[in-house]
């Protein structure tokens, strides 16, 4: 079991480095098209990591919907506006400094999050007088592994999606409709 764990970890780190590298490049490229493509590569890296984290269906969706549809839309718009390459598309120093400074602050905060291990969270929630039953919020064990085992990768996602989360599911469809109408109205020259 230990070797299997280390192998996936190594693969995980490979993909992690890949994702971070492409994300970094995506931000720094002056050409919009280049950063779009680097973003696509980040998404692929993430899809791979999803698979490692036993979320195979979501990985597929990620590749299909996210990388496929959304990024294609981005590419399409970039092509449409045929933006020429803008040298050092960064803002003047005050915005730049603020941006990096803020990112640093955010980073340090998130690092402290690292100490919030699930055990500590469970302990804190259980001690705090909250109306919610802690066990409901943090069920033990890898409930996910049991579910995929019984219903298969897609089933484990589909069953709660279409039963527990049916209403949000329908709401998203309304949301998408609104987005489509909005996009049409905004982008069209004259109705």
């Amino acid at each position: 079991m230990a070797s299997n764990v280390t192998v996936t970890t190594v693969i995980f780190y490979v993909f992690a480095v890949w994702a971070v590298g492409s994300a970094l490049l995506c931000i720094t490229r002056s050409n919009a098209l280049a950063s779009a493509l680097w973003l696509v590569s980040t998404m692929f890296a993430l899809a791979a990591i999803f698979v490692i984290l036993q979320a195979q269906f979501i990985a597929a969706i990620q590749v299909l919907v996210y990388a496929g549809a959304v990024m294609v839309l981005f590419l399409f718009v970039i092509m449409l506006l045929n933006l020429e390459d803008v040298p050092h598309d960064w803002k003047r120093w005050p915005a730049w400094v603020v941006g990096v400074g803020l990112a640093a602050v955010l980073g340090t905060t998130l690092v402290t999050l690292h100490s919030y291990t699930p055990a500590r969270l469970a302990r804190e929630v259980s001690t705090m007088p909250s109306p919610v039953d802690p066990r409901l919020v943090f069920p033990e064990g890898n409930a996910l592994a049991v579910a995929t085992a019984t219903q298969g990768a897609v089933g484990s996602v589909a069953q709660p999606l279409f039963q527990g989360y049916l209403i949000p599911f329908e709401v998203t469809s309304v949301l998408l409709l609104a987005a489509v109408v909005g996009a049409v109205v905004l982008a069209k020259k004259k109705l």
Binding site: A55, V70, F74, L81, A183
Partner: protein, 98 residues
């Protein structure tokens, strides 16, 4: 389980996304950075979904739909602005002055 490392990775990606949004001038790239931030969040959902049940993954599902809708409308707006000002540079667009 890889919970720790994936959370760290998502933190890094998120920070990069925020930095990108604050630094870049091109509206579309800013949009992309927002997408990047969303992906970082998805990663966190997935990482914790292992432990706390599949609802995490469903949340990712919803995040994706929202992201898609947001991208569509956002790009339409950028298109409209571009038609108006022939530029996507955020610093030039300040018609909504107070």
């Amino acid at each position: 389980m890889l919970l720790g490392p994936s959370l760290a990775l998502s933190a890094v990606l998120f920070v990069l996304g925020v930095a990108g949004v604050l630094i870049r001038r091109n509206a579309i790239v800013v949009f992309m950075c927002v997408e990047l931030m969303l992906n970082a969040v998805n990663l966190t959902f997935i990482a914790l979904a292992q432990l706390h049940g599949v609802s995490g993954q469903i949340m990712v599902f919803f995040v994706m739909t929202v992201a898609a809708a947001e991208a569509a409308v956002g790009l339409a707006i950028i298109l409209a602005i571009f038609r108006h000002t022939q530029s996507v540079d955020l610093t030039h667009i300040n018609l909504l002055r107070g």
